[in-house]
């Protein structure tokens, strides 16, 4: 099932160790299939996801970023996911101001048992990013000029 467009989005996902990352593992155990575009960075808690790193990813051409934490009320660290949610909503506003569609950044909440949901989320997000097309940043990244 190959998409007609040539564009393969680069998507970064920050997954919290206890829930979202475990859900991603469970998706594997189920052999749930999803697009290959996502690269996961494991963090202890979605509350650790630093806005600077999300900005960094976008600045260097990421087409989409997912922040995946535990279900609300189910955070291993009590409320890190709620901090992450507030942070993501501010960042979405900043992205809009910059001129990058805020839909490219999304927060999702998963329990460790939601392997299939993880796969579905990634599939759906990848499709959405594919439709949005390449990040406008990508067109003009200066080579070798990394902050």
């Amino acid at each position: 099932m190959h998409h007609t467009s040539e564009f393969e989005p680069q998507i970064l996902a920050f997954c919290c160790h206890y829930c979202a990352y475990a859900a991603a593992d469970l998706a594997g155990t189920f052999r749930a299939q999803y697009p290959t575009n996502v690269r996961i960075i494991r963090v202890p808690c979605s509350g650790k996801v630093d806005p600077m790193h999300i900005m960094q990813a976008f600045e260097h051409g990421a087409d989409g970023v997912l922040v995946a934490g535990c279900l609300e009320g189910g955070c291993h660290f009590l409320e890190g996911n709620l901090r992450a949610k507030r942070r993501v909503s501010l960042l979405r506003q900043i992205l809009d101001e910059i001129g990058i569609k805020s839909d490219r950044l999304r927060m999702v909440n998963l329990s460790s048992a939601m392997g299939q949901t993880f796969a579905n989320t990634v599939t759906e997000f990848t499709e959405q990013i594919r439709e949005l097309g390449p990040s406008p940043i990508t067109n003009n990244i200066p080579r070798g000029k990394l902050r």
């Binding site: 393969e8 990352y21 960075i41 509350g47 790193h53 392997g115």
Partner: protein, 1082 residues
Amino acid sequence: MNVISLIIDERKVEIEEGSTVLDAAHKAGIQTPTLCYHKALKPYGSCRVCLVEIGRKDSSTLQASCTYPAQEGLIVRTSTERVIHARTIALELLLARCPDSEEVQRVAAECGVPDTRFTKKDEDCILCGRCVRMCEERMGRAAIGFVGRGSKKEVATPFGSPSDVCQVCGACDFICPTGRIDLSRVSTRKPRPILSEYNERLTSRPAIFIPSPQAVPNLALIDREHCARLLGRPCEVCKEFCEAGAIRFDQQEKKQALDVGAIILAPGVDRFDGAGRSEYGFARYSNVVSNIQFERMLSASGPNEGEVLRPSDARHPSSIAFIQCVGSRDAVTGNKYCSSFCCMAAIKEAILAREHHPDTCVTIFCMDVRAFGKGFDRFYERAKQEYGIEFVQGMISRVVELPRTKNLRLSSVPEEGERLDREFDMVVLSMGFQPDEDLRRTAEKLKLDLNEFGFCQTTPLDPVRTSRDGVFVAGVFQEPKDIPETVVQGSGAAACALELLSGARGTLVTEKIYPPERDVTDATPRIGVFVCHCGTNIASVVNVNRVVEVAEKLPFVEHAEASIYTCADGSQEHIKEIVEEKDLNRILVASCTPRTHLALFRETAREVGINPFLVEMANIREQCSWVHSAEPEAATRKAIDLMRMAVARTTRLTPALPEELPVTKAALVLGGGPSGMTAALSLAAQGFQVHLVEKENELGGGLRDLRYTLEGDDVASFRERLTRAVTDHPAIELHLGSRLTGIEGHAGDFSSSVVSRDGNSIEIKHGVLIVATGGKKLKPDQYLYGEDARVLTQRELEARIAAGEHVAQNGDAVVMIQCVGSRDEERPYCSRVCCAQAVKNALKIKERSPDAAVIVLYRDIRTYGFHEIAYQKAREAGVLFFRYDPEAPPVVSAGKDLMVEFDDPITGRRRLLRTDLLVLSAGIVPGEDNTEISDLAKLPLDEDGFFLEAHLKLRPVDFASEGIFLCGLAHSPKFLKENISQALAAAGRAATILSKDSLVVGGEIAWVDSTKCVSCLTCTRVCPYGAPTISFSDPHRRIEIDLAKCMGCGSCAAECPALAIQLHNFLDSQISAAIMAMMGAK
């Protein structure tokens, strides 16, 4: 065995003698298409799809690679023009024969053959013979075979009549590539799928299976009763696929003798199986499911990935009915007890069903809604108000399936008098607990007493102790209960066992010695990259060699290699050798998930002197090969990216040196009521020093108000025994008339100041704190309480009964009003104990004066568990129960006579009762010191003012802050027996710290760069554990992080406006490097 070598597509391949050319090609990673070939079957060579060209140009021949033996020096070409041409013809012929077969279409498309030029027929069998071979070779049956020749050839049973040797195992169907096997043409018997226990028999499973996706250990097991091999057939197909060679058919049950000092029984209890309530049609009507089946349906890992579909037609039900108390509170089945969990489970499931499909209407049919637990009533109110779930009081007497729609008609005669007759798309039966025969046998073997229902016999004052010394019980086996109470009893039973075993503690521990760690402070990173095939789990999708090739060229990578199983014992030894040989100081393993395997590789690293924090993993199995199996090329690119990101991180890893903080082996228990005393005694019995601080001048707390339990125990003598034991115990130091005025420090090392009433302040050092400060009885301000001497509370009534007073003569009337000051706007929680308390006192009155009228006005009777028996007894004794509407509560007036007026929902009439006594079931309210203690020790309170535990279900006695525990009424209203369980649990949890000499802290924790910190205090506000604090000993007042309190979530690091905080092992530089590695990978 001899190894021979041959050349395939110009590549030299070495393989064992006796292999086929196809085996050799696979070994070389050359994907040759196949159709009739199957790993578990003898090669047959019928489909001609795996053709290869063998020999030199002039003398070459086309051969089926699956049957052609590999020989020394053989020259094989797999994709020459001649091969492609012949394969195309073969596939076109197959396509013409079976144009609708998806498998043929798939293989053809892979080989670039989109369509056939021949005339299409509509066969569905390609005569590959897989079914025939499977049946004969593996199942040892030969129920089917080929008959006829040429164009008449087909797979059939002898003489075309049903086979009598066929076992209806379905192996032929399983292995058929075109799905054309019709078992009904092979045998007259019906195939029976093996139903999945995990999915509550809603789906089927194989005979070799992993019990659940999150099973521990996550290993497969063979179902003895269904495995063809163990039933005497050759089979062993699974063995062909297990590359680890882990499958053993000769494993036997082993009996082991264990020397133990205590036994804890936590076997759980089976569920009611529907028998005895056949009028509900369970197992007869497809759209009638059990509550647990419905739970599976709602689960994302369930049969339909969380979609609720009717079993009959896989359609979303638009209306669902829950029938409560199926096999509970039920004289018909003899299960007279309440199963305690089903009301809340039904409410939760109803809410989830509404969340999944907001159009679904949900109705719950029940007698009472028993939302008695912490926070439960709020949940129940939300279910009604926010989710619009309908609650109908009254039991359903019959469920009938409508033949055409498979909908269900529910009928009953409900409380309100009118006959009920409603139709639903689906029915969920809330089935409760029911002990089974196995449990009875276990109890017999252990010589334990069971109660009349087959649960373990315990006494309210000793809730986890069985009738046999040294044997303890936890969970539902003791009495039906919900999750928090089960977890509590688990820890409580552990505490009791620890009391017995305190002398033997630590005697079986052997300490492991590690070599000194390599100092990497100024060392250049030298990384070893180990890429795992995981048999074929990774290697069949990801080109492992390419991952290694890329790794080798990355900076700081000194060594890269692939191995078949990196986690195997031999591989660990090999990694250690390579570390020594190449002087590596960092290890990266690209294999499975770090969640299961990082600990193993860290251990290996420690054994060779590498700090465990210098080990990293790239997850190329769960998060790559397994989820991208159809895209090997893209999966390989992703695996390379993941590896590159991990190398970038590994380069920047820094070691962590954990610190050992000594533990003060003493506990401070706050509160000298039943909970505090029980916890103190247990800890003292486990061999720890205890400081018991009580603000009153005497021990006892709430026990002083209780006279007897529902079960008949004498509370006064219990209080006396407990008080004496606490007072006499040499390890318990009493601080009566004293209050906590300050607490500092962290788990293992607290320092508290305690001030006595005369103003003397002392400093207490302790390793743990247990908060058992109790609750308070509510003083009612309704129903003329305090104005008329005939109005009193249940507690006051109990005291009068216990004092021998004849509270009601025959002919007198006593009215009791429930939920006084509970479940209202001011206190929207249930006080849990009042229903049983009313029943208890009503029974006492009836015992003495059978002709006194006792009338209970209630909202829901919540006599859960075995309390239900007493409720039934009270009804039998003639106690009258009337429900009242909280919107129109009873009205009490006093003249010469005391009058109670209320609406009777059954007759719909207003009733006026003259009563001699009015007894108010006044609830329990939070202790008056809760706010003060909460501020002092920085412990959270819930919305109602009780202390809030770390997790309502899973950590019911822990606070989020390490080393501080909670029990008794300080936590929430509950019964004495539950308080005792919880106090034991707190003692058990506290012992997990006190039993250690030191706590190892550090690793993934935050630290502050004091040169950057501006002391803005953001971190102190963000941290849920109170780990960052301002250091007043530092002249610059910078922030310090308490190692023992930091849980490593990193919230502070992500918020610090001065970028002064870093979380170890998740440093900004490490994450940033991984992002750059990913983005640079374009």
